[in-house]
């Protein structure tokens, strides 16, 4: 009786010690990081597509090794990423909603907006294609979906893709409403899965679609329209406005994306796995060049 009691006491003590040690292990690491916290950590607020497509996992280790910075990736929708920039809660943004980006630039919250890369949006839908949108123009596709009340799954999360989708509906002057228009409130990969399960249409960036293709029966039905261009910019949060921002780190990250090596890595990413690149590197180009095309 007494022995078992001792045993249980010893067990509890052992667990306590183990847990405390585990805690101390973390504590021991923390000060090392805190030597220059403002300098070493970079908070990157970005869209889910750059993470879910594997691009950041490919780029960041190289950048971190070269520069000694540690990048903390907060992958949210572009809307949320821009908000983080506006509040000074991030150091650098990698986003894809040019109109919304310009508004943030106008407030002075961010500086040095530079074009990094592009890919394009596509309409994905079920093979049966109930609204018959295959190979039609963006305008006709949206009209056909609305007229047929075919299921359309929207991101519904104020992300860059959602902003683009709203812009397109606006363009054809249709206010999508009703049971056929479903708002997922989820990331791109999950939205694709929902559209797949419900035999619906959705607007997606090509990178995420390609990365998800193995789980989907959806097909690309509309593509190649100039309106569907998806341009990514990097923006640094203004350290004159937010003193806690890691300005040097933010600039270093932007510079890396635009360096010859960064651009080469972006252009190569996914080529082997998906048979085509997920992003096209555009360092040095301007938006005007795209709209003039």
């Amino acid at each position: 009786m007494k022995k078992t009691r001792y045993f249980s006491i010893v067990m509890i003590l052992c667990m306590t010690v183990a847990l405390v040690l585990a805690g101390c292990g973390q504590q021991a690491q923390a000060p090392a990081k805190k030597v220059e916290p403002a300098v070493k950590d970079i908070i990157l607020a970005t869209t889910t597509s750059t993470r879910d497509s594997g691009l950041l996992d490919y780029l960041l280790p190289v950048f971190e090794k070269q520069s000694g910075y540690k990048v903390k990736v907060i992958a949210v929708g572009t809307g949320a990423a821009l908000k983080m920039g506006e509040k000074g809660e991030a150091d650098v943004l990698l986003v894809h909603a040019p109109d919304a980006e310009k508004k943030v630039m106008a407030t002075g919250a961010t500086i040095n907006r530079r074009l990094i890369m592009h890919n394009d949006f596509v309409f994905a839908g079920p093979k049966a294609d109930p609204a018959k949108i295959k190979k039609s123009s963006v305008e006709n596709a949206l009209k056909a979906i609305a007229d047929n009340k075919a299921v359309f799954v929207s991101r519904g999360d104020d992300s860059g893709t959602h902003k683009m989708e709203k812009k397109l509906w606006n363009f054809v002057k249709i206010k999508p409403e009703g049971a056929w228009y479903q708002q997922a409130g989820a990331g791109m990969a999950q939205t694709l899965k929902i559209a797949d399960e419900r035999h619906g249409y959705t607007l997606t960036d090509r990178a995420t679609y390609l990365a998800q293709k193995k789980n989907l029966t959806l097909e690309i039905l509309v593509e190649g329209d100039k309106k569907l261009l998806n341009i990514y910019h990097v923006m640094e949060v203004n350290s004159k406005k937010f003193s806690k921002v890691n300005a040097a780190g933010a600039k270093a990250f932007g510079d890396f994306l635009l360096s010859a090596q960064g651009q080469k890595m972006i252009a190569e990413h996914g080529k082997q796995k998906y048979g085509q690149p997920l992003f096209f590197a555009d360092g040095g180009k301007t938006e005007q060049e795209f709209s003039a095309k």
């Binding site: 009786m1 078992t4 009691r5 045993f7 249980s8 067990m11 509890i12 667990m15 306590t16 183990a18 847990l19 405390v20 585990a22 805690g23 292990g25 973390q26 923390a30 805190k34 916290p37 908070i43 889910t48 879910d52 996992d57 903390k72 990736v73 907060i74 509040k87 000074g88 809660e89 989820a186 990331g187 990969a189 999950q190 694709l192 899965k193 990365a211 998800q212 193995k214 789980n215 937010f242 806690k244």
Partner: protein
């Protein structure tokens, strides 16, 4: 169905292959939730014991607050903790946001009320005469509480199990305050969510299985302690 068998197979490979990333994620999960549970015990149990052995005005109000804490939605806790820890938030100077410590804080806030409330229930459900008897036999107030804690061991360890379970299974708050950073604040629950959002369902299932193994392991140890030296049917 294919996903599940594939996931199980992958889980076994990941566990027994000692995939470094998976081991790190699993180890961080144990550290964060274990520490959170430990702090929750230190905070919650004394509160439970105190409420169970003292009578004062307004006690019901405090108990209702503690019980309310049990039902506190983790996302709300996550939101509050991240607002407080933001760079330009009231405690931004601590630089704790997006670190494991932020997750420990959030999980502690979530688990403490559970441990407090369940330990209160465990001790208050003992025979009320027991404490009187102990005191009249000459035990000091502290000795009496020590004896009561020993008597209520089963209930108290149930509280610990529930608290740890809640902390380790939590995802929304950890995601928000930890940021799910690779190699830094990625734990099994947030890793599972990430793999689902990437569409890697088999890897997600593998992470889920590892989480189940860990929870089962810890709960088994606690259950053995709980029933140690005790006969349920004398």
């Amino acid at each position: 169905m294919d996903y599940i068998t594939k996931g199980l197979w992958q889980a076994l490979q990941l566990i027994f292959g000692f995939n470094q990333e998976v081991v790190e994620v699993a180890w961080l999960t144990i550290k964060v939730s274990g520490l959170a549970a430990l702090i929750s015990i230190i905070i919650g149990m004394p509160i439970g014991c105190w409420l169970a052995t003292r009578d004062f005005r307004g006690k019901k109000v405090i108990i209702s607050v503690v019980n309310f804490g049990m039902g506190m939605p983790p996302v709300v806790v996550g939101l509050l903790v991240s607002i407080v820890l933001w760079r330009y938030g009231p405690m931004g100077w601590t630089h704790l946001l997006y670190t494991p410590w932020a997750m420990v804080i959030a999980q502690t806030i979530i688990a403490s009320p559970i441990i407090a409330s369940l330990s209160f229930a465990a001790i208050v459900s003992l025979d009320p005469k027991l404490r009187m008897q102990l005191l009249s036999l000459g035990a000091t107030s502290w000795q009496a509480i020590f004896m009561l804690v020993k008597e209520a061991k089963i209930g108290l360890l149930a509280a610990v199990i529930a608290g740890f379970g809640r902390a380790v299974s939590e995802v929304g708050a950890s995601m928000m305050v930890g940021g799910n950073l690779k190699g830094e604040t990625r734990i099994l629950t947030t890793a599972t969510v990430l793999e689902v959002s990437k569409g890697n369902y088999d890897v997600a299932i593998a992470f889920g299985c590892i989480l189940l193994f860990i929870v089962y392991g810890v709960v088994t140890i606690l259950t053995f302690i709980q029933h140690n030296g005790r006969q349920e049917h004398p």
